[in-house]
Subunit: 337 residues, 4 copies
């Protein structure tokens, strides 16, 4: 099989995830170069994974003729420019979400991508989780008939540092954005209106940083379905990621994953392990499938399951959610998009 | 044990449920008389359950000196007047929900009850379901810490006849009213604001009757928690009644009840029975516990777990939900109450 | 509907179960008389359940012309004689297990029953548990194809008093006898050979009384299937009653029943309630269905699902199990029957 | 970290599993050479996994000075000799089960290992399954108190070719051997006696090859516990691998693993995916943990969790099981060991 030669920009937490995945689990990937403004970090990662070419400037990766595609894992505020630069030198692009916090900026990147005719995939890894893939497939097969009600639970085990929050664009843009994408993916329909209730219930520091940590968000869809997402920055029992979709012919639920399937019957109750506690544990298979899909799509020139437009719309829904919260009223997507 | 001598008004579906419960499962209850404007129906019920005194006029039951308490199971539009009449003759009262569709009318009944010093219990039977009782108790014990997010799923197996809908006051007043009560009961907190999205997705006839059949309702509570109720008039897999409450120290979920616990592992998947399909199957134990609680409270002069005020507030939330739907905006409870 | 007029002999624990069931839950039953050598106990029971005729001598019940059928709930050593006496006066008979501890004595009773042409049902109530009924039905429908492996788990929450053990005939005759019947019922096949390993692991007093408290019993069946029963007199987590049957086309499992379906996700694990702890809680529905089946069968002259032969064979398997334990070798049923 | 330099002998199904694990998932392992009498197969494997040194003669691997340890994945009848040869040149040894079909031959190998002072680990990979690891750990912590009853279910999704059966030594030696090891591992106790019932219920060809395909095997342990293993060569619903252990303070159960956690509620029942169907899917994590444990133990000179004695005793129990089947009587382990 022809391998896809890849460069990775950014060796932070998510960069390392994609690097490890490419090296260890994606036979179609050949990681040839990485870059990070923190060259010390980049060199350590390169050593651990046996990567020969390491740079501090991302352009050095983009300019390597042997590189077929790049994975942009740098901070959010660099994504849009890097997409444009990569497109301009004809590289296919995998980019972490969100593309940017501004819709105009995103639209600018997408134009460059379209003009260059390269492929762009946004890192909505949860689409490739085996549970959600199964739900998506069964909904698409008509197993539940017409979708009526969608419920997404998405709760993190621990909140990020308040310092992280400001740069991230806030909970809707950083965390719920996955759920907004999941909502469109599972229902196969577009969001038309958003209503948000949110609060600071976990940590007052989050409130001081201008964000919320608990939210329930009501969505309406073009196909008539109604959806609800609930979020918390802190579930003491672990990473809680569930989906339920109800329709005219039935209901599909995707439960959490657990580290083992033991049950302990003691005199004080029946006990089992907590759900997997970390996004890497829960989504390790999803990250691998995602990268395989990206490599296959580029190698075989296939359409991508996550397009640049998915990245744009998810941000638009996040902006509408924020606006709804601030104005305490339902906000139509057309108001922001 | 001293028995409570009871009269029942109304021998329709819910009247029969309470009559059977009193006769077969509540040792503290002695059913001495029943009344129904349809005397034929009343006489048949009396015969089946061995009740000696049968009337067509409810006042004949109220005037029996040996009757300690009455259960009002007649149509909704009679509840308020019957409560007043029963209070005026000093009978304790069990009344089916809703008390009335108008808050002023309800307040009038409650004043009569207060003046007479009799006990009034409203038929929110689900409070006595073993699953919800357990959740309530564990929340009250602080097991989840401060409540943050409440989720109630309440879906019927089949919609009522469109003819029934108009008299019932619509889905919020007839069906969701149980969930509004459950929301207050589980969180131990009052609803402050309601936002509703609803649609006619099950049967256009329901829309023609002026009602909806699918809804997602967002609630905010005085204690800061956010709640969401999802309703459907038709779940093809049966009666779906679940509660989930998430807080600072954990989460509690109450699953459905199933007719048996068999699992069938075949070559095409693992299969189990559907949840119980009918409200009487799911809540049979709840109806019994409810009536025992009522009888005990009257016999021993104990406070009631469901007061007249609960009946009033649940109707107020239903009115706010309807108003929110019509005006597509969040409605504060103070706007209607 | 014509009602079956019943007399009950014995007002101990199991007698009270059947009396309560007849009075409260079986519309086809009319309990007209009870007897117990302990007349004080009998009178109290009669008062509680509103029964007019109370005797100390069982024959007084048998001689009542209005009595159609009797339920024998007296100690095991009286069963055989009472069956003969009831048959001789033409009463239909429901008798608790075991009929007797001796196969010859049992055969004598069955002969009297056959001669009299009355119906005899043995109290293998577990056959009517909704879980096991479902398994039985699905096996009979061929859902698992040919049965290959049967597994029955049957563990009590607490051991009986050592004093009880001697009169009971020991664990195989008192407790495992239900499982021996279940094995034949679920597989629809006869036991041909038994091999037993057992020990005293729960309480040395049980060993001093000449019995065991822990056992694993291997069964072979005429249809080629192999079965295994595991017993304990003490499961600290409650009453553990499960069945699994595996065949050429699949597997069926029946899990325990739980008092509620709540799940508690805390920081130290996921917790749920223990299984129901008491045989009356687990099998309350089974006792009711059993008595309804008996009444229906007598009223409508239908064949019984549990015949006298079932009572005979279950005792034979228990005897073989004991013999196998004592001789540490597989014992064929033909050696004892 | 110092890496362990490994050679692998045998590139059949299980050899490929270990090779892939070493290359992709065990950072402590460096695979330097492989050998297979089928050089074509070996070369293909070497190419796929980027291994430089490939031989047809296993001794060429053993003689490489840089090789620290060897993994013996060749046919069973070569294991004993290869162990001796590897020990004689001072290599540490990982060997697939069973070491040999004869206890004397096994003892000969173990003597060579002891004399050479090298480490020997037998491939009982299931010990490293997360479910069984958890059970083992909790039993060792005393969570169930004294073990009373052990139940192991082990069923394959499809039988091997009859041709395979003869070389494998039959079901007990090839398949149940894992369960015999698991029984000792979980209980932490030795088997003293075995009683076997088995039959040919899946495929008559298996019977013609002199083997059985369905078995229930009763074990007694030195600590007083009683165990039962049930096996089938064909579970149409997939690979069924469960353990249950019951003791004085509780019960632990390990359920199967499933490919996803979706539940589908349709009008005809609730459905979920089948358990994982293939040993590699179920035990992929176990194979990785096992190889990591082996590498760590050699690198850091730690004791091994699976010793050569474990390989010896498991074969002894398999021989006793076969003898018990042939003679239809319980067989003491001392009769064969």
């Amino acid at each position: 099989m022809k391998k896809l030669k890849l460069g990775v920009i950014g060796t932070g937490r998510i960069g390392k995830v994609h690097i490890a995945t490419m090296v260890q689990s994606v036979p179609q990937a050949e990681l040839v170069a990485i870059a990070d403004t923190n060259l010390v970090s980049a060199k350590e990662v390169a050593k651990n994974f046996g990567i020969n070419k390491v740079f501090s400037n991302y352009k050095d990766v983009f300019n390597l003729p042997e590189v077929d595609a790049v994975a942009i894992c740098s901070p959010t505020d660099t994504h849009a420019q890097y997409i444009i630069d990569a497109a301009n030198v004809g590289k296919h692009i995998f980019c972490e979400k969100p593309i940017a916090l501004s819709l105009d900026v995103i639209k600018g990147s997408l134009k460059a991508v379209e003009k260059a005719g390269v492929k762009l995939m946004i890192g909505f890894n949860r689409r490739f989780d085996p549970n959600f893939l199964k739900i998506k497939q069964l909904v698409a097969e008509g197993k539940i008939g017409d979708p009526h009600i969608l419920k997404i639970t998405s709760r993190d085990p621990t909140p990020p540092h308040p310092g992280y929050i400001e740069a991230s664009g806030g909970m809707f843009m950083d965390m719920t954005i996955h759920d907004f994408d999941m909502a469109r993916y599972i229902t196969g329909s577009e969001v038309t209106e958003v209503f948000t209730k949110a609060a600071v219930l976990v940590d007052p520091e989050i409130g001081k940083a201008g964000d919320v940590d608990t939210a329930v968000i009501l969505l309406t869809f073009t196909n008539g379905a109604i959806g609800v997402i609930d979020n918390s920055r802190k579930a003491v029992y672990g990473y809680d990621q569930r989906v339920e979709i109800f329709g005219s012919k039935g209901m599909l639920c995707a439960d959490n994953n657990f580290p083992d399937n033991h049950f302990y019957f003691a005199s004080d109750g029946v006990h089992r392990s907590l759900p997997l506690n970390f996004f890497m544990d829960r989504y390790i298979e999803a990250f691998t499938t995602e990268m395989k899909m990206f490599c296959n799509a580029v190698i075989k020139d296939l359409p991508l399951s996550e397009s640049g437009n998915d990245g744009l719309v998810a941000v638009a829904v996040a902006l509408a959610a924020k606006k709804s919260l601030l104005e305490n009223r339902p906000v139509k997507l057309t108001e922001v998009l």
